[in-house]
Amino acid sequence: MMEEKHVFSILVDNEPGVLSRIAGLFSGRGFNIESLCVAETTDPLISRITLVTTGAPPIIEQIEKQLNKLINVIKVHDLTGKEFVHREMALIKVVAKAEHRAEILRTVDIFRCKVVDVGREHYTLEATGDEGKINAILSLLKPIGIKEIARTGIIALFRDPK
């Protein structure tokens, strides 16, 4: 069976140990976590976890059921196949020697990134977009020299009817 990528949006009790219950479930049952984002919602008692995973359809079904079985999990949404918006942010520290600075700034312009830190030898860029866009930026900057990157993994929400 074909492996599929799925984005789960999970509402959980905002309590110590909840993340480790989720992470433990994935490692204990041999499921994948590609990325994971956790933060409080407007209700401080509830957190939202956005989790990206891959697996064949029966595995995805198990993941959803197993998540629902955890006592601290309030709601599980599988966003895949539905209308949703998703974004990822990356901070990219690029080597910025004099001869490359103009090119880097052009790239920043094209991709609507921001320069958030400047040094004599580097720029740190903030890029936001879907995974494809982040990957495109990285592939353009790679030949110039990327010193470090930090990516958030994706966050996502359903699109409500207009």
């Binding site: 140990g17 433990g24 029966p58 079904e61 198990q62 629902n68 079985k69 006592i71 309030i74």
Partner: protein
């Protein structure tokens, strides 16, 4: 009213109807033990903490209620893990209390500190670290509710020392309400109607009943379904007793050591109705060859059990008892046709399988066959004893040759397969059912895993009986080595064993031994009908194997018969 955490704990336990706790004291639970001494809740002092959980497990199963146990922090807590994992795999409602170092020391590698909640997270239904005395009553109430409802399971509560010592103004907690936990008891009627249609169409149906039938008290409803629809019944190890073994529709146990007719019938059936089962690998054998011609119905309260291992035609999420009651009601309105005629070929086929390869052994004059001991045990107890087992050959022979007509009579570590389970579980079962005869069918290997519990049994005046099928080997592994590893008996021969008769006596129990076939019945009679704790040591055929056997990775219909 000011109450300490320990006082609150005992107060709530009383309210939950707890009358017995299995445990072992230690530094951080000393305040709880001090309150226990003043309470009328009975405390059973086990000799190792895993046994506190096993005993609570046996108590829960035999008595059909939540088992409770208590251990100290650190090594006390880590020792409980084996017992918790066993209860978790078999979905047994147990609440485990562990002590923890004081909250201000947590994370400091304090004396006897271990991250109990971290360690037990994957083997509990849920667990709690209680950080404030104010939360204790609510957490205990939640734990009992979680343990017993839905698919039952163990729930652990870790209590730091200061939480049990601090006194607070006690307010009774409200009724438990968990917004995120809402097990599905009532099945979707559309799905149940689908099952009705499948049953109407089937000519060769089989019911596979599991531990869920016993946990939800659905034996009566299962029996009614089977009889009304003339559907033969097999069961998993955990399901034994859910359907009466004396009924003509009974096929015997399924799986790796299932009967020939039970396993063959899954190969040939056109409808398989799984009820309260999870289609574990020891049941299904090779997955793609399991019930290849059958439509499969799967009824279970836990949605994760459904389609975890096998594809299903009609999944039904619901409590076994509720679902079967509804199913029986719907079937009553249906015309199932002339079932006698419809099943004639199917029953003839099953009868044929039964005569081809019945469960059998050959008892000669010289050496005791282990199966013979279990068969005589069955006859002498008229099938009405509570049987606990250890794990391995003893467990399989008990499952094959002791025939259970009623639920909650067979208590075994099915999922985890935990050696050393039987004796503490027997202690728990005996406490839950003081008037019943409780027998632990053991091997000479397994019994040594928790033999120290003899002291517990004798101290509490519990007349549990231990039947050791003593072959001098770790028999099941030896059997695999004989069949699949050219008889290289790597580390399975227990060359030195204690004298179990003397050992029984050393514990203040009665020890008996039989070495010849003609001694089996007299020794069983003497031991079983004694008022004391008794070990009966049966020196049996050393290299007897459990048959039928489905080799690992084979289809369940591919059995070794001898």
């Amino acid at each position: 009213m000011k109450l300490t955490g320990a006082q609150i704990m005992l107060k709530v336990l009383k309210e939950e109807g707890v009358d017995t706790i299995f445990g072992y004291p230690g530094g951080v639970v000393i305040d709880i033990y001090d309150e226990l001494a003043k309470s009328d809740i009975r405390h059973i002092l086990v000799r190792q903490e895993a046994c506190a959980v096993h005993a609570a497990d046996g108590y829960a199963r035999a008595g059909n209620r939540v088992g409770v146990c208590l251990a100290t922090s650190g090594p006390g807590a880590t020792n409980t893990v084996t017992g918790i994992a066993s209860a978790y795999m078999d979905s047994i409602p147990v609440v485990i209390f562990t002590g923890q170092v004081p909250t201000h020391l947590i994370g400091n590698d304090a004396f006897q500190e271990v991250d109990t909640v971290g360690i037990t997270r994957p083997c509990t239904k849920h667990n709690y670290l209680v950080k404030r005395t104010e939360d204790l009553a609510r957490v205990i109430k939640e734990a009992f509710y979680l343990a017993a409802s839905g698919r039952p399971g163990p729930v652990l509560i870790d209590i730091p020392k200061d939480v049990s010592v601090n006194a607070i103004d006690y307010k009774a907690p409200k009724k438990v309400k968990l917004k995120t936990y809402n097990p599905t008891y009532n099945p979707n009627i559309k799905q149940v109607n689908k099952v009705v249609e499948l049953i109407k169409k089937a000519t060769n149906p089989v019911i596979l009943s599991g531990g869920g039938v016993i946990l939800s008290n659905a034996s009566k409803e299962l029996t009614q379904l089977a009889r009304n629809t003339q559907t033969p019944v097999t069961s998993t190890l955990m399901g034994l007793g859910g359907f009466p073994a004396s009924d003509p529709l009974w096929l015997g146990m399924i799986g790796m050591h299932g009967t020939y007719r039970a396993n063959m019938s899954t190969g040939e059936c056109d409808l398989l109705i799984g009820i309260g089962v999870r289609f574990d690998d020891r049941v299904t054998g090779r997955i793609d060859a399991f019930a290849p011609n059958a439509k499969i119905v799967h009824i279970d309260i836990d949605p994760t059990s459904i389609r975890k291992n096998i594809p299903v035609t009609a999944p039904v999420v619901g409590d076994c008892k509720v679902t079967l009651t509804l199913l029986n009601k719907l079937l009553k309105k249906e015309d199932l046709g002339d079932l006698k005629k419809k099943r004639k070929k199917w029953f003839a086929q099953i009868a044929d399988w039964k005569s081809t390869a019945p469960l059998a052994y050959n008892q000669g004059d010289a050496v005791i066959k282990p199966q013979f001991v279990v068969e005589k045990l069955y006859e002498l107890t008229k099938g009405d004893a509570i049987i606990t087992t250890e794990v391995g050959q003893n467990q399989m022979w008990a499952a094959q040759y002791y025939h259970f007509d009623k639920p909650n009579r067979f208590i075994t570590s099915g999922g985890l397969g935990c050696m050393g389970f039987g004796l503490p579980a027997a202690i728990g079962a005996q406490l839950a059912c003081p008037d019943k005869l409780v027998v632990d069918v053991a091997g000479d290997g397994s019994i040594q895993m928790n033999i120290q519990e003899m002291a517990t049994a004798v101290q509490c005046g519990l007349p549990v009986k231990v039947v050791i099928l003593n072959n001098g080997y770790l028999g099941m592994v030896r059997q695999w080595q004989q069949l699949f590893f050219d008889k290289r008996y790597s580390e399975t021969c227990l060359e030195h064993a204690p004298d179990f008769v003397k050992l029984a006596e050393a514990y203040g129990a009665v020890g008996l031994r039989a070495t010849k076939p003609e001694e089996v019945v007299p020794i069983l009679k003497e031991g079983l009908f004694s008022k004391d704790t008794v070990i009966m040591d049966f020196v049996v055929e050393k290299e007897e194997c459990v048959y039928p056997m489905v080799p690992a990775g084979a289809a369940v219909t591919e059995m070794l018969l001898t």
